[in-house]
């Protein structure tokens, strides 16, 4: 029997560990499945990943399809695509949700072409309209506008940005089915000959980010920001020009061509706020901006506006926070 119109979430894993964005996708997937009276399925591909399947059920999955094979431990577009396509052809889902990571964004367009449907990129909002269409909301023009879109064909495939959806509470009493599938593996035309960490920090996942911009006078002055980020338990971010000048690594870059972030608190120090920068941090819960120029665009989207010198404000802020939390 076919299970028409179910929701399929493609689980995101790294080194055989499920990434938190997967639970966010499950939260939204569950909502869509409930509204359309369908089931929430997950496709999980990995090298040694079976044990993780149960977690997906605790987070709301009705059914988990596991494809386990040593060749699937690392992301491989061709083999991931082939296995997901064959499952999708069998299940005929209504909706497929995929993380808007580099992996997901490499995979989703190929899935869409192979399944003869569309794909929307990097969505930040998903909602059912009264006719049962999934409205997909995504930024365009480098974040200047939000486009609301519908897909005429099924499945509706969308990649979803980190931290834009809410996961539901983990509940170990939830029941679901785990289905092991035999992975079909073909030799990959690509050979990974080396793998290395891009950087220790994962700024997209950070709850608190302290970012430095052109207001910094010297690369060494990131140390001042580091004190603040340490006091808050946050991480250091940077605007693009400082990364381009080699003051700090690319993994710290916030903005359209860097990382998109959505922390609880974003502290912009000496950042004027180019549209490219704003596109990468606009989704932050609370934005605190410190800049000597009162006309800096960052102030337009700030919750707290401090017109002042970061060299004066930041050390005092460190002391104030340390004083309260010690």
């Amino acid at each position: 029997m076919t299970e028409q119109n179910d929701v399929i979430v493609v689980a995101e894993q790294h080194e055989d560990k499920i990434q938190s964005v997967t639970y966010e996708l499950l939260g939204k997937g569950k909502e869509i499945a409930e509204k359309t009276s369908t089931k929430l399925c997950v496709v999980l591909l990995g090298g040694n990943i079976e044990e993780e399947a149960q977690e997906l059920i605790y987070y709301g999955a009705d059914k988990v399809f596991v494809f386990q094979h040593p060749s699937l431990k690392d992301f491989d577009t061709l083999n991931y695509k082939n296995n997901i396509v064959s499952l999708a052809k069998e299940l005929k889902p209504g909706v497929m949700l995929i993380a808007a990571s580099h992996k997901g964004r490499s995979l989703a367009p190929r899935l869409a072409v192979a399944l003869e449907t569309g794909v929307s990129a990097d969505c930040i909002g998903l909602d059912m309209d009264s006719d049962g269409n999934l409205i997909q909301v995504r930024p365009a023009f480098s974040g200047s506008v939000l486009a609301h879109m519908k897909t005429k064909t099924k499945p509706v495939i969308t990649t979803v940005r980190y931290k834009t959806m809410q996961s539901i509470k983990r509940d170990t009493s939830r029941k679901g089915e785990i289905v092991n599938r035999k992975a079909s593996i073909v030799p990959s035309p690509l050979t990974t000959i080396k793998k290395q960490k891009l950087g220790e920090i994962n700024i997209s996942e950070a709850d608190i980010i302290v970012t430095g911009g052109r207001g910094l006078k010297d690369s060494k002055d990131f140390a001042i920001l580091a004190e603040l980020s340490e006091a808050c338990g946050g991480v250091i971010g940077s605007s693009r020009p400082l990364v381009d000048d080699g003051w700090i690594g690319k993994e710290h870059q916030v903005g359209f061509s860097g990382n998109t972030v959505k922390p609880k608190i974003y502290i912009a120090c000496g950042i004027s706020g180019s549209s490219q920068h704003l596109a990468g941090m606009r989704g932050s819960d609370i934005i605190i901006a410190i800049n000597t120029d009162p006309s800096a665009p960052i102030f337009k989207i700030a919750d707290y506006r401090i017109v002042g010198d970061l060299y004066e404000i930041v050390p005092k802020l460190v002391n104030e926070i340390k004083g309260r939390t010690s």
Binding site: H14, H102, K103, S106, L107, A108, P109, R110, A112, V113, G118, V119, S120, A121, D122, P139, A140, F141, S142, G143, S144, V145, L146, A147, H148, M149, K150, K152, T153, P189, L190, T191, T192, I193, K195, K197, L198, N202, I208, C232, G233, K264, S275, I288, K300, I301, A302, Y304, R305, I306, V307, E312, I313, K316, L317, I321, K322, R324, T325, S326
Partner: protein
């Protein structure tokens, strides 16, 4: 000799684009279009390979007649051939239809070794076209390429995959999408710019693709994603609170507020 294809798109200068409350965009200083800045990195990589090994570099763009100007600009920057895909039938294409048209043009062009695309465009901003073209052509693709390590019998590139960098070896043909970090695009010399104005841009219409493609999959009728509306991002809900006074007063008020809103709980208590 390697045959390289680079896709380029004509885009508006988005810093000049202002949107009203209904999301209708207006160009403040209409200067025509420019090459999507991300595509310049793709072109630069192709030209670097051409300089090193010898290669043909064909730039292909789908757009209106005005896009001839950006294709001529690619000649000034080192491309050897250009192709404009221009037809009313292409209008209203979503990424799937666009990729189908571009892939069809590649099939019609014949043999190739390497296709290079920019990571995304500054207007549509989807970053999907490259991978979609690769799927239509049934060739491998490597996304987010930030460095070319070696090119000869095989290609070795570094691909930024989220928190990891993968060094990947592959054969030809292959499609690469490159990040802005891969290089700094050269500026064309004045002489090359002047010479490129005389370059002839090859133009193909929908009919030119009929031997390799189904016209029903072009343009609006071939598109499955419909934009319902465009809205401005809401900045509503921002407090927009000005903190004034001495630095001591400012930081005290700020930390008071954060503490009151429960935002300080996580702070410092790692």
């Amino acid at each position: 000799m390697l045959k390289i294809i680079v896709f380029v798109k004509q885009v508006v200068d988005i810093s000049q684009l202002k949107f009203d409350a209904d999301g209708v965009g207006t160009l403040e200083n209409a200067t025509g279009g420019e090459i999507n800045p991300f595509d310049l990195n793709a072109l630069e990589l192709a030209v670097q390979i051409k300089d090193k090994l010898g290669a043909s570099v064909t730039t292909v763009s789908m757009g209106e007649a005005g896009a001839e100007a950006i294709l001529k600009d690619t000649i000034a920057r080192g491309a050897t051939d250009t192709l404009l895909l221009e037809d009313a039938a292409f209008k209203g294409s979503d990424t799937i239809a666009t990729a189908y048209i571009l892939a069809s043009a590649v099939k019609k062009l014949g043999e190739f070794d390497l296709i290079i695309c920019g990571e995304k465009t500054v207007d549509g901003d989807t970053g999907q076209i490259g991978a979609e073209i690769a799927e239509y052509l049934n060739i491998p693709h490597i996304g987010y390429v930030s460095s070319l390590e070696d090119i000869g019998e095989k290609l070795v590139v570094v691909s930024d995959m989220d928190s990891d960098q993968h060094t990947i070896e592959c054969g030809f043909p292959v499609l690469l999408t490159v990040t802005k970090n891969i290089n700094t695009p050269r500026l064309p010399s004045l002489r090359d710019k002047l010479n490129s104005r005389k370059a002839k841009v090859e133009v193909w219409h929908a009919d030119n693709l009929s031997s390799v493609a189904d016209k029903n999959l072009f343009g609006e009728q071939g598109s499955v994603i419909k934009v319902e509306k465009i809205l401005l991002p809401s900045e509503g809900g921002r407090k927009g609170k000005d903190l004034q006074g001495s630095p001591e007063e400012i930081v005290k008020e700020l930390v008071d507020d954060l503490e009151r809103d429960g935002l300080l709980r996580g702070i410092g208590a790692k």
